[in-house]
């Protein structure tokens, strides 16, 4: 947990520990990046407002080497912070003041996905699937484009697997939110949009003009065969 406010740090730590998580804290972005060099957490909780380098930057640098799930803690539920956090590579976000039960639920959903990322639904587990020059290997947790591996975060990988489980089928944002993030109907659809955008940057030959992950206006997304 990266958080500069000692009171929040202590109380959230207590709450997480009473939910049986073990927590390592640090209070600056620099410390966090240093710590991540030798620690290997299952999940990182980053507050956006940090002295020194901010939460967005911590997340961006973290993403250069790691696909560890990241939850951003924003002080505003304004549009910019959320989007910026997700663009920086966060998998999910919570807004202060958050309900600790809600935070634990988000953490569990992400962890379940991280440890279980390759166990997609529909019993599709071992078969490799190919879409054009894209090859998805769920059992290995890898995606190859033209033979070379594409580095996806666990959330991006899970999103791609969900879409690939039923090629040509349109998935609504609500469905994807539910399947990938475990959110209900009123979850933030922008989570899906930002992750689709990030996914496209990595797997599409021309991200501005996607060939695989296609937007179906007003309905959702679809993986084209």
């Amino acid at each position: 947990m990266v958080e500069d406010d000692p009171r929040i740090r202590s109380s959230v730590r207590l709450a997480l520990e009473s939910a049986d998580f073990s927590v390592t804290e640090c209070h600056t972005g620099e410390d966090a990046l240093e710590l991540l060099n030798h620690e290997n957490p299952d999940l990182v909780l980053i507050d956006i407002m940090l002295p020194g380098i901010d939460g967005f930057e911590v997340c961006r640098r973290l993403r250069e080497t790691s696909d560890v799930p990241v939850i951003m803690v924003t002080a505003r539920n304004g549009k910019e912070d959320t989007i910026l956090g997700l663009e920086a590579g966060a998998d999910d976000y919570v807004t202060k003041p958050f309900d600790t039960d809600e935070l634990c639920a988000r953490i569990r959903a992400l962890l379940r996905r991280a440890t279980n990322a390759y166990a997609t639904p529909h019993g599709w587990r071992t078969t490799h699937r190919t879409f054009g020059d894209l090859e998805i290997r769920p059992d290995e947790g890898r995606v190859l484009r033209a033979g070379s591996e594409v580095k996806l975060t666990k959330t991006e990988f899970r999103l791609l697997c969900e879409l690939a489980a039923a090629p040509d089928k349109v998935f609504s944002r609500e469905t994807l939110l539910d399947r990938v993030w475990g959110y209900g109907y009123f979850g933030d659809g922008r989570l899906v949009d930002v992750h689709v955008r990030r996914l496209r940057m990595k797997i599409e030959p021309d991200p501005g003009n996607p060939r695989y992950v296609v937007t179906v206006r007003g309905l959702g997304y679809r993986l084209d065969n």
């Binding site: 109380s11 709450a15 202060k96 003041p97 309900d99 600790t100 007003g218 309905l219």
Partner: protein, 468 residues
């Protein structure tokens, strides 16, 4: 605040300018024309007289040339001047028209002079000396020619001219009034602009400024106005920032409080019953407090005009079902008209769900079951409806419809409600959320013979432009 400028019921500036200019021009024209008419009348009069005399002189000369015998004078006068009343007096004798016809014409003593006088309203009497070669001695005799000349023709022309002059004056006054009106408009345009700008400022357009003017009369007004708006805008921005800052500052301690409370809740079983009750009270109010801070922040975003729609296309029926589901209440009757069931509308799910949840919440808190959530196309039954109306109705005591607008004010709770109900921002926020969607919220009467509250949200089926 609260200073009201009295609105006078006198005519507008523009009308006054038009009337003033019109009236002044009319008065000026009237004076000018009166002088002209009087001058021209006397000029025309003298001109007319000399013309009449000239005519008469020609007749006289004709008579001098043709008359050689007084006995023929009668006949010659009749044939020469058939329509005129003419007579010749020689040495006390009258020829032609009878003497009485010329009224009290001077008898003598004016021989050798022209005499002209108005005999009647339409006739002038002209008396000219005349020299006729009818003397017994072969010489000439001096006489006088009496002529009554008709000047009705001239008068008619003069009347016509007079009428023309009056009509012109009126026309000129009308044109001048029109010009005055235009001038008035030009004059009052800066005022109208200022009024429009003030209205915009009133509606929240605090960036509104009046353009600079060269005119010293206006420059002062404009400068003052702009300074005033600047001050108001600065104060509003400060208020808004304060509201936003306070809410932000409250978020960190709230996070700590909520996390600590969660720890205690997880160890609830270790607490004594009294402590458990205390913890529950703390828990309930802390969540209410968090909600209030959330509402305040939401409101400050509306106030700062930074609230934006995050729209997505949803099936209305599905959306309403989800709203009912997430309300946690099982006894809401959801009724969606057959047409509205198929509506796909563009909306910000979070905002609209919040707006409707507030209304349902109010119905549960202040109303009484049964509670309906209904949706119907507007106009009802139309195959191409323009709007959808979503209503929340209950069978509680209802609200006073005449004063229902007050309920939309911030922190204005109804008269029956205690301070512990809700955040006090619910309806105000609902209205803001709905307005952002281009819709409206209002209380409506419930069906006759029943009590209860009905509040409706009307949304356009074509979403307004959004930046989300």
């Amino acid at each position: 605040m609260g200073a009201v400028v009295r609105r006078y019921s006198s005519p507008s500036l523009r009308t006054r300018a038009a009337l003033f200019v019109g009236a002044s021009v009319f008065a000026g024209a009237a004076v000018l024309f009166t002088v002209t008419v009087i001058a021209s009348r006397s000029w025309v009069g003298s001109e007319q007289r000399s013309l009449l005399v000239a005519h008469a002189r020609e007749h006289a000369r004709l008579l001098e040339n043709v008359v050689d015998d007084p006995s023929r004078l009668d006949q010659i006068l009749t044939s020469l001047l058939p329509s005129a009343v003419a007579a010749v007096e020689i040495e006390g004798r009258w020829y032609g028209a009878p003497r009485a016809r010329f009224g009290d014409a001077p008898e003598g003593g004016i021989t050798g002079f022209d005499y002209v006088a108005d005999a009647t309203d339409s006739e002038s009497l002209i008396i000219l000396p005349i020299e006729l070669a009818i003397g017994t001695t072969g010489g000439t005799s001096m006489g006088r020619l009496f002529l009554l000349a008709d000047h009705a023709q001239w008068d008619a022309r003069r009347t016509r001219t007079g009428r023309l002059v009056v009509v012109s004056a009126i026309l000129l006054a009308v044109v001048a009034a029109g010009a005055g009106s235009i001038a008035g408009r030009r004059l009052s345009r800066p005022l109208a602009e200022a009024a429009a700008a003030a209205r915009k400022v009133g509606a929240g357009g605090l960036e509104t400024r009046l353009p600079e003017s060269e005119d010293p009369a206006l420059a002062d007004l404009i400068e003052t106005f702009n300074e005033m708006v600047e001050t108001v805008a600065a104060r509003a921005a400060a208020d808004q920032r304060f509201n936003s800052d306070v809410s932000h500052e409250l978020r960190s301690p709230l996070t700590t409080l909520m996390a600590s409370l969660a720890v205690m809740q997880s160890r609830r079983h270790e607490l004594s019953p009294a402590n458990q009750t205390a913890l529950d009270l703390l828990d309930a109010d802390l969540h209410r407090f968090a909600r209030l801070v959330d509402d305040l922040l939401e409101m400050s975003r509306f106030d700062a005009n930074v609230a934006a729609l995050v729209s997505s296309r949803v099936n209305l029926n599905e959306f309403l079902e989800e709203v009912v589901k997430s309300s946690g209440q099982s006894d809401i009757n959801l009724v969606v008209s057959p047409m509205a069931r198929v509506f796909e509308i563009e909306l910000d799910k979070r905002r609209m769900a919040r707006a409707l949840a507030n209304l349902l919440d109010n119905a549960f808190r202040h109303g009484a079951p049964p509670i309906w959530l209904t949706a119907i196309e507007i106009p009802p039954g139309d195959v191409k409806p323009s709007h959808v109306k979503i209503s929340v109705e209950d069978r509680g005591p209802g609200v006073d419809l005449d004063r229902s607008e007050e309920l939309f004010e911030r922190f204005n709770r109804g008269p029956r409600l205690s301070r512990s109900d809700g955040s006090g921002l619910g309806l105000a926020l609902t209205r803001e959320h709905v307005r952002l969607h281009g819709g409206s919220v209002a209380f409506e009467p419930v069906s006759r013979g029943t009590t209860g509250t009905c509040i409706t949200v009307v949304l356009p089926l074509r979403a307004p432009d959004s930046d989300g």
